[in-house]
Symmetry: C2
């Protein structure tokens, strides 16, 4: 039987076994699943599966596995590395796996298709906090966020997705269901499979539900916007705040002058909170779950930083609206880069102390490659995670500029590796960085990952083009 | 070539390639490695390897792997499930892998042969805390503790070993070296192999070094000993303390009356801190890294518990010596059981709320099996982890009593599984519970673990008789 005949047979079988509203071949329905918002990938799929239960996922995977037919898995379609876009495979969307299964004092069990923002709001309405927070939270699904071990702006206090998940339910490549939901507090009966599935980008199993930790809501939160002269002072500011607010520092973001210029130019109702502009800005938040004298200590810290010329100026948000305005300056950076033409992106991390070194070296290197390009290095200062996005030179042809993508990646990643960093800090590998990973990854780690993939998905039916 | 000839050849090769002081065949030197303190297992080994570096471990494993010769791996030889005792395999001890490699503000990198107590003291002398604490800390090695994901009395606040480790160095079955020491704060380049190696009981790799988190030292610590009427009130006490001291509760141990009777009878300088004895006791500690009004809130909480008849009496340690005395009552339980004859042991966990139910059912069941046996259920109330150890009836023949081991295990484990618990909470599986695991483990989890083992150690040379 040819591949095409085999695929047709499987499609027929899937359509028979699943309810009519759990699949579609309609081009219009499929269309939004085959492109993504950055428009870097366009895909195709002969069939879209929209399972409504773990059982339906299991049934579908069992059939695909029997007949060696691969699946691409998609959550909220907000991924930045192309892993969610099928190239001829059957597409399985977790969108309708969206039940809330359990809600208790310290955790919630939700299905993988639930939207992050829904979960934040659910926790909030129960007087709890689910801390993961990132720009795409209105569309990103919990399953996708788990599969890519998502980060965001609160990692400095709460960790990444792997740190926020207690248990997992997942359909494995043979269609069996692994379940570690409601784990015991202590259970030493073998390997940590839960953690193995998190961050595996859907290559070892399809996450269908997870148990998420919830946290006490802070009773106080203070937001600061600082103006600084240079990168070394940004680092020093982080160190001093981290020292003073070890547990309270919940957000610390680096913003270059150029980024704010774009934001204030292109995004409505955004303005610089200072009268004079500076080369660098740092946005930070501290929060506390009890009534410690947070504000006093922040004001004292700011005073010391000013006296020692570590910062030039500081604005403290006095109202909720002021806080929102300051946060919006940071959150609008990616959007504000769009009207400036093409942007070549890097999601990298280095040891925190080497951030100034990295930005200096990488800036020099990309300006050498493409004179007048405009580096916009911003992001998570407290995690060593910089989004080193480079806007094209004004007036250059966008497509010509974007043709440098791989070349610029190589140059920037060379610096990252030299500094002991990672070429994917929080977005994952997907399709975009697969080649780079094969080249840059420690060979022992890479070989071990390949062995595990082969062992758990010998027919390579789960996201076969992703990661490895 | 016969197996014996093959083994002889490998032994010759190992002796040639390793320095003279990195191996031994001397019977007297080998002897203490072949028995263990509980005297449940006695082993044999044709050769003892005592590597002094990761490189030596790698060399040895490479040779063994080439020739399909299995290794048993031993840390401090304090394991309670027999995994460390060789039965004819070459024995590799990590005892001399004992260098401190790095010490910084938030972590330390130590080799796997370092003794836990040494590491606690090292952290302490740097004004930091390494919180793992258990009875065998004077002998247990970091590598063994990592491989068994050890728990102990501070899990309620700090988690088990997997929660305390940031990075790992390990020699894999083919002799290659996996290294995740000094990890970046964010690195999304694939599977979480670090967590997979922790708790794998040496079946996927030999841990040679780890990076451990260190914590701020508490500036206050309060120790309480409570007397209670029944198990439901013990549980209620836990709930109230956990609610009041979510982050501060650092130890909460359940102690039955019978256990304290044994301790005060057999252990010098131990006496009951109350004038009248009660059926149950709870030992607990709260600690804080800042100057919160800890003592006041504890005294208030105790007052409420007394007023509501949840506790009968309470003793608060006023001096360091008083604290030590109270802790010693708990720590001496296992030792004090020895003079009472044979003890059949269970290291189980159940959801915390089901502890009273478990103890009631299990007590009834074992008393039905062996009338007049003396159950001593003690341990980690805040983790749902009870050491359900059963002393023999007075006057019964010890060996006859111990012949009931498997039968009693089955009966107790049946109750554990029915209540959604685990047959190994913190000691691991080793040899002791291998059959029970095969029978009781979720088959999907078990099959997945087997696939991973086969993929990463296809020749089954690492601890081949352990776990699976």
């Amino acid at each position: 039987m040819s591949n095409i005949e085999n695929l047709r047979k499987v499609i027929t079988e899937l359509k028979e076994i699943l309810p009519n509203n759990s699949w579609s071949e309609n081009k219009e329905i499929l269309s939004p699943y085959l492109t993504e918002w950055r428009d870097r990938w366009r895909g195709q799929a002969p069939l879209l599966l929209l399972p409504k239960s773990t059982r339906e996922v299991s049934l579908a995977v069992k059939i695909c596995n029997q007949h060696n037919v691969p699946l691409t898995i998609q959550g909220g379609n907000t991924g930045l590395v192309g892993g969610q876009i099928p190239q001829g495979e059957i597409l399985l969307s977790t969108k309708y796996l969206n039940q809330i299964r359990q809600l208790n004092e310290f955790s919630l069990i939700v299905e993988s298709g639930c939207i992050l923002q829904t979960i934040q709001e659910l926790a909030d309405s129960n007087n709890k906090l689910f801390p993961l927070s990132l720009a795409s939270q209105g569309s990103a699904t919990i399953g996708g966020l788990c599969s890519t071990n998502a980060g965001g702006v609160h990692v400095v206090r709460y960790g990444s997705m792997r740190d926020l998940v207690i248990g997992v339910e997942a359909v494995l490549a043979d269609g069996t269901i692994f379940n570690s939901l409601n784990p015991l507090k202590k259970d030493n009966t073998g390997y940590n499979l839960t953690s193995l599935l998190l961050g595996a980008e859907g290559t070892l199993g399809i996450i269908t539900a997870v148990q998420l930790k919830t946290y006490q809501k802070p009773v106080q939160q203070e937001t600061l916007f600082l103006a600084l002269d240079n990168l070394d002072n940004c680092l020093e500011t982080y160190k001093i705040f981290k020292q003073t607010f070890t547990h309270e520092l919940s957000l610390i973001e680096l913003i270059p002058s150029e980024a704010l210029k774009f934001v204030t130019e292109h995004i409505p109702k955004c303005s610089l909170p200072f009268t004079v502009s500076s080369p660098w800005y740092v946005l930070l938040q501290c929060e506390s779950t009890h009534n410690a004298p947070l504000l006093n200590i922040i004001e004292e810290t700011v005073k010391v930083l000013l006296e020692n010329n570590i910062i030039i100026d500081a604005v403290l948000a006095k109202t909720i609206q002021q806080t929102k305005n300051l946060i919006k300056l940071r959150e609008s950076i990616s959007e504000a880069q769009k009207p400036q033409g093409g942007s070549i992106k890097h999601d990298i991390s280095v040891p925190i102390g080497l951030i100034p070194e990295f930005i200096t070296q990488a800036t020099k290197a990309v300006e050498m490659l493409i004179p007048n390009c405009r580096p916009i290095p911003f992001g998570h200062l407290g995690d060593g995670n910089i989004h080193f996005n480079v806007s094209q030179p004004q007036g250059m042809d966008k497509n010509e500029y974007l043709s440098y993508w791989k070349k610029m990646n190589r140059i920037v990643h060379d610096i990252v590796i030299k500094l002991g960093g990672s070429i994917s800090a929080e977005h994952g590998i997907g399709i975009l960085k697969k080649e780079e990973l094969a080249k840059r990854c420690d060979p022992v780690k890479y070989a071990t990952m390949k062995s595990i993939k082969l062992a758990l998905d010998p027919k390579k039916i789960l996201n076969p083009r992703v990661l490895l």
